[in-house]
Amino acid sequence: MSYFSEIFHGIKTLLTGMGVTGKYFLNSRKGAITQQYPDNRDTLKMFDRFRGEVIMPHDVNNEHTCTGCQKCEIACPNGSIEIIWDRGIDEHSGKKKKKIDKFVYHLSLCTMCGLCIDVCPTDAIKWGQNFENSVYDRTQLTRVLNKPGSKLRPGVED
Amino acid sequence: MMNNEALKELINSWFPELEFWEEGSEFLNIEVAPDQLFALMRRLKEDEQSSFDYLYCLSGVDWGETLGVIYHLESTNHRHSVVVRVQTKDRDQPTLDSVSSIWYTADFHEREVFDFFGITFSNHPNLKRLFLTEEWEGFPLRKDYVDEINMIIK
């Protein structure tokens, strides 16, 4: 008789399985778990801490807080950050001071480890929430983060 | 469970010429000569008191002048560990005994070491390159390996 009980047990487990999928089928109107991505761009908000790309915030006076200390450059495991710097006279103190010329960020090399932002003493760089980083030409992935004409916010010391 | 002292005494009673130390490590370290390696390993595994039946790590190391292998052993019965170290001075034709007949896992691990350090294991059933291609030149994890194109030295 175990022959038949085996068959019945087998059919029962199969029907239980079908019950699970069937329940989802009937509720399919309510709960699609996927997102219709390009359509929901407007409502799609990433989490605050999301690591999309490294950005350098500038305030209304076009000032950033990067002193050019190069700690991020040293901390970066992949060489994604290159700081081209120069020594210039600081307008406020009148002393000779290191200042950045270009903060070059290679997004194509970046592994989003966050060590540069972690190590930055003046919070000059932050995570940007932009995740749509695809471009047609990879040279576009090399970015200069400080805006043209921007300068160091007065009073920021490392 | 035997503590390091007891283990040291036990192993020393089998092979008196071994070198033991504990500094800079949490385990009991044993330095063994290449010709004694296989005998020691088999004894470590098969002896009731030690019964190191679990080889949980096998790492090749390049110490500059010497090439060697470090075996991390644990006993699943007694839960004590020991580290065995073997070195060979011959950098051109380094050869050690394979322990793959004692622990099956050594088969793959020794192939990995052969691949990256160029240490040949005698009596290994299938010693050929595991990760790299057969025609690869040099052994990348050796300290003197140079690859000017692909390696970025900071």
Partner: protein, 354 residues
């Protein structure tokens, strides 16, 4: 309402009036073939879409919904894409067999379609050995699969093809025997006659317990016949990549794909015809409007198709030896027993008739 059906009659009359008899019948055949080809190519495409949407709903997804309203044109677009794709092949493949295989598969499935009674007197080919013809023709498809697997010069394809051969030959037996059980009730192989018998109750009701068992066996072995999960050993994407059609691309691949879905339709249509009264409406509610028969036929078939899709999206796949164990140790003995029970039922007149 009968005007819709009489169109075919009118065309028939007009053709025979305008031409000599042989030419008329030839033209008629070609016309019917073209119409079937057109309808079922489109229907196959929509079946693919249906499968994809249903799969999505089982899996809490949305499924294709971009091309056309709710994705209705998605598979059309896919077919167009496949048409425009390059037909690749392998080195040292048996080119003749390789190219022949997809046509074998698709033609055999289209041939089987010709005998279904979609509604009263709406049947292309009412042959007196209808069921026999169906079983015979639907198993030709496996030759195409074998040819494709052999001709591809690919070991995965070969394994897939060999599995297919083993599987189809075994399950052919169950399909045949379960239908034979029902033939005991009807006493005829002609599909229109089978429908006629069912006017006094669908066969699944007439034959009650053995008929239900036969239906279950038929659905299981039918799923196996069409090489669908849980019996998709032939494709078994996690084992063989794509199985026998690994090396096919473009339209040749599309033929295989389409044939799979048409075969699924055929199996369900056979089940509808033999077990669920074909175009007969439940309790004869629309008996006066014969054109609605098409609706009932399609509805029943689609419900069974849905059942097969439900199987596919729920169950894991069997292994090849278990597949054969299931057939030879479970389905076949049960089938033989079932035939005996059915014969006794018919002999003692224990069937339910209204």
């Amino acid at each position: 309402m009968s005007s819709a059906l009489s169109i075919t009659g009118n065309i028939h009359d007009w053709l025979y009036g305008a031409m000599p008899e042989w030419a008329a019948s030839l033209v008629e055949m070609v016309l019917i073939a073209l119409v079937y080809l057109g309808i079922f190519a489109i229907a196959g495409l929509f079946l693919v879409l249906l499968e994809r949407r249903i799969a999505a709903w089982f899996q809490q997804r949305l499924g294709p919904n971009r091309v056309g309203f709710q994705g209705l044109l998605q598979t059309m677009a896919d077919a167009l894409k496949l048409l425009s794709k390059e037909l690749t092949g392998t080195n040292r493949a048996d080119t003749f067999l390789y190219n022949l295989a997809p046509y074998f598969v698709i033609i055999s499935s289209l041939m089987a379609l010709s005998v279904f009674p979609f509604t009263q007197e709406f049947q292309a080919f009412d042959i007196n050995i209808g069921l026999f013809f169906l079983i015979a023709v639907s198993s030709i498809g496996v030759i195409g699969i074998l040819l494709g697997g052999w001709g591809s010069n690919n070991k995965y394809a070969l394994i897939g093809a060999m599995r297919s051969g083993v599987q189809t030959i075994s399950y052919e037996l169950s399909v045949g025997l379960s239908l034979l059980t029902m033939v005991l009730l009807t006493g005829t192989l002609q599909l229109s006659q089978i429908v006629e018998v069912q006017k006094s109750g669908w066969l699944i009701v007439q034959g009650h317990i053995p008929a239900i068992i036969a239906f279950m066996i038929f659905m299981i072995s039918g799923t196996a016949e069409t090489n669908r999960a849980p019996f998709d050993m032939v494709e078994a994407e996690s084992e063989l990549g794509a199985g026998f059609h690994t090396e096919y691309s473009g339209m040749k691949f599309a033929y295989f794909f389409l044939a799979e879905f048409i075969n699924m339709f055929i199996i369900c249509a056979i089940a509808t015809t033999v077990f669920f009264g074909a175009w007969l409406s439940p309790f004869g509610i629309t008996e006066s409007i014969p054109v609605l028969g098409v609706f009932w036929f399609m509805l029943k078939t689609m419900l069974l198709v849905f059942l097969m899709m439900w199987f596919r999206w729920t169950f894991p796949r069997l292994r090849i030896d278990q597949l054969l164990t299931l057939e030879w140790k479970y389905l076949l003995p049960m089938n033989l027993m079932n035939i005996v029970i059915m014969a006794v039922l018919v002999w003692l007149n224990l069937t339910i008739k209204f």
